[in-house]
């Protein structure tokens, strides 16, 4: 099919949905990863669960929407990507299922064994998805062995290699930093202080991993190629770098909201950098670039893209409106919830 502007529009919207997902579910997956590090007492743990309570479900919907948008706008990419990543995706799925149930059920029965069990589920269901998402996207950036018919010539283990493992670890640490900032912001007293201090250490680690990941991407992928041609795109990694300065600025002054906004910028900057670098590819082929799936060769018909655009223009602003309102009433007014008993 010939190239058209809507394919570019939908590549951008697709990238925005995934970016939104990483920025939002990033902090609740990150918070879950820290349940043992920060949750020393029962009160601590309850506070951590409640810090993400009103938000995690709505955040997760960004994943469903990103997947749905991939299906709607780029069905060929959706089909090849999801079947190629079969085992990784199902593992991700089980982890997210357990995470969701853990958050909702943990405090609904008064037994130490019950709570301990769900804490394990919450932890694994937070750490593993972060890692798997890193692995999955690293493979998307690098390309996977798909042939000209979109058939994947690999297995689950093909997806695990140095570049993707670095990405996985980077996602885990970055989300954890983001989660620590959120916990520091949303809780009070000693827990908040400890979260701030953990956030500082995670920030240091994230900076190092970020540098490694930028370098590894230069060596293993073509992500930087678009940047050589269009220097203006450098605004995206610049946002990430700015974020890396805002985070400690907030932590040092104990303005944890600022620190969290900083880690939002980090994740946003990284995601934008990656997707801008990926364009127009959506799933490169490591066997032959001619077999890569792009936004131009894997999209839906023009009519479908036009209709989806109309739907998005009407309903996404509404959704953003009430989402922001919910965040405002539960988080962004400065009398944030006490961790109740």
């Amino acid at each position: 099919m010939e190239g058209n502007a809507f394919q570019i529009v939908w590549f951008i919207l697709w990238a925005i949905l995934w970016t939104g997902y990483f920025v939002l579910d990033g902090f609740d997956l990150g918070a879950g990863s820290l349940i043992y590090v920060l949750g020393r007492t029962e009160e601590d743990r309850r506070a951590i669960y409640n810090s993400i309570g009103p938000f995690w479900d709505g955040n997760e919907v960004w994943l469903i929407t990103a997947g749905g948008a991939t299906f709607a706008a780029f069905p060929k990419t959706y089909a090849v990507m999801f079947s190629a990543f079969y085992s990784a995706l199902l593992l991700l799925l089980f982890c997210l299922i357990i995470r969701g149930v853990a958050v909702e059920y943990r405090n609904k029965f008064d037994s130490k064994a019950w709570k301990t069990l769900w804490d394990v589920g919450f932890f694994l269901g937070s750490v593993l998805p972060a890692f798997l998402l890193g692995v999955a996207f690293a493979n998307i950036f690098e390309g996977i062995p798909i042939d000209k018919n979109g058939i994947y010539h690999g297995s689950f283990w093909t997806l695990l290699h140095p570049y993707s493992i670095i990405a996985g670890v980077f996602f885990v640490i970055c989300f954890a930093m983001h989660g620590a900032n959120w916990i520091a912001f949303r809780t009070e007293g000693e827990l908040s202080e400890r979260a701030g201090s953990v956030a500082r250490k995670l920030w240091g680690l994230s900076v190092v991993l970020a540098a490694i990941f930028f370098l590894a991407s230069y060596l293993s992928t073509n992500l930087w190629d678009n940047y050589a041609r269009h220097l203006g795109l450098l605004v995206f990694p610049a946002i990430a770098v700015i974020g890396f300065f805002v985070v400690p600025g907030g932590l040092v002054t104990k303005n944890y909201l600022m620190a969290w906004i900083g880690s939002c910028l980090v994740i946003l900057g990284f995601s934008a950098w990656a997707f801008a670098g990926l364009f127009p590819n959506m799933l490169p082929s490591s066997l032959n670039p001619a077999w890569s799936l792009t936004c131009f060769n894997s999209s839906s018909s023009l009519l479908t893209l036009e209709i989806m655009t109309a739907v998005a223009l009407i309903f996404v602003p509404i959704m953003l409106g009430y989402t922001f309102w919910a965040y405002k009433i539960f988080a962004f007014n400065k009398k944030s919830s006490q961790p109740a008993q």
Partner: protein, 442 residues
Amino acid sequence: MDVVWLSRLQFAAAAMFHFLFVPLTLGLSFLTAIYQTLWLKTGDEDYKRAARFWGKLFLINFGLGVVTGITLEFQFGTNWSAYSQYVGDIFGPLLAIEATLAFFLESTFIAVWWFGWKKLSPKVTTAAIWLTAVGSNISALWILLANGWMQHPVGYVLRNGRAELASFWKVVTNPFGWLEFLHTVPSGYVVAGFFVLGISACHLLRKRDVSLFKKSFKVAAIWSLVWALVIAVTGDFHAYEVAKNQPEKLAAMEAVWKTEKHVPFSLILVPSESKEKNIVDALQIPGLLSFLAYHDFNAEIKGLKDFPKDERPPVAPTFWSFRLMVLIGFLLIILGIWAVVRREEPEKHPGMLRILFASMFLPYLGCQFGWIVAEVGRQPWIVYKLMKTSQAVSPISATQVMISLPAFIVVYAVLGAICFWLIGYHAMKGPEKEEPAGEITY
């Protein structure tokens, strides 16, 4: 077992499991909203406590509905990639719209309802639970329009080796999809109605919180009967649509083997697929089947033998699921009438209460049977007359599915058991005596 069969079993397991929780979500969200609205209007504390009680049970159930739904969205891509590529132009947008319009709405506002109980005014939290209910029901509409398209594809053109959208209007006004919606969603309402009736019955039998549960009972009784009747009516319209558009499914549902006019409805019927006839056929009502299917006593119904063998759906599952579903539907109407007749003083009728408690599972079963008719009855097609299920699978190894299928069954069985146990625990604990002190938390 090949990858097609394994993937079919996996999708069936995932879909049926998801549909253990969705109907209650669809109905209990509205019932909770109704109780809370009655509190706003009357100031009666019983209604407030009822809203919090039923809403808490709703919340426990809702979580599992959400997480099992993600599985289905993923599974179109993981196991049915050929299908996804072929119909993505039409099917994809319906799913994306479902997420954008409905999932965000229900997920955001259920959290507003629960966590905002003290922080926000009663009017705002009441609006929140109504929006949650609306969100869930909007989601049902879009997914049923998607399934409706699989059953009766419209508004498309075959181009570039796939189905491409030709008319979005035709797709969203597809009568098949709307009739599915008007039949499936009330079935969820009835699940919720009998859920409330059964649990209320339990407490009334034990004479606990009688005032609150009498009020819950009364609302749920009227609710259940109204929607049980709607199911019967829309079921008839829906079957008429099936008869028109999917004659093979109709023939399987009713075990019609030979094409004939003025087809009777047999109250007792036992089909034999191998013999291609009914081995027991008794208590016939002349012409009734023709009338039910085509609203004409003399209408001709095409028999299974006049369809190619490889285009006939499996008869036994389709036939028995249909009959059992209809039987359950009628039982629920009768039980609904009984509950409505006794709605002012249900505590004086322990026999009825015990039967209502024992009947809570019936609507659940009805829902599952209905979906078996819809999906098994469409076989061998994944998109009716356009694509066969056997052509739709991903090019993946059977080994991967041989691992994932049992994993799903085990994980789902464990989580499902925990969910129902937790619901039972909180249901039996009864409504809170007073609201928790301090902020609302988990």
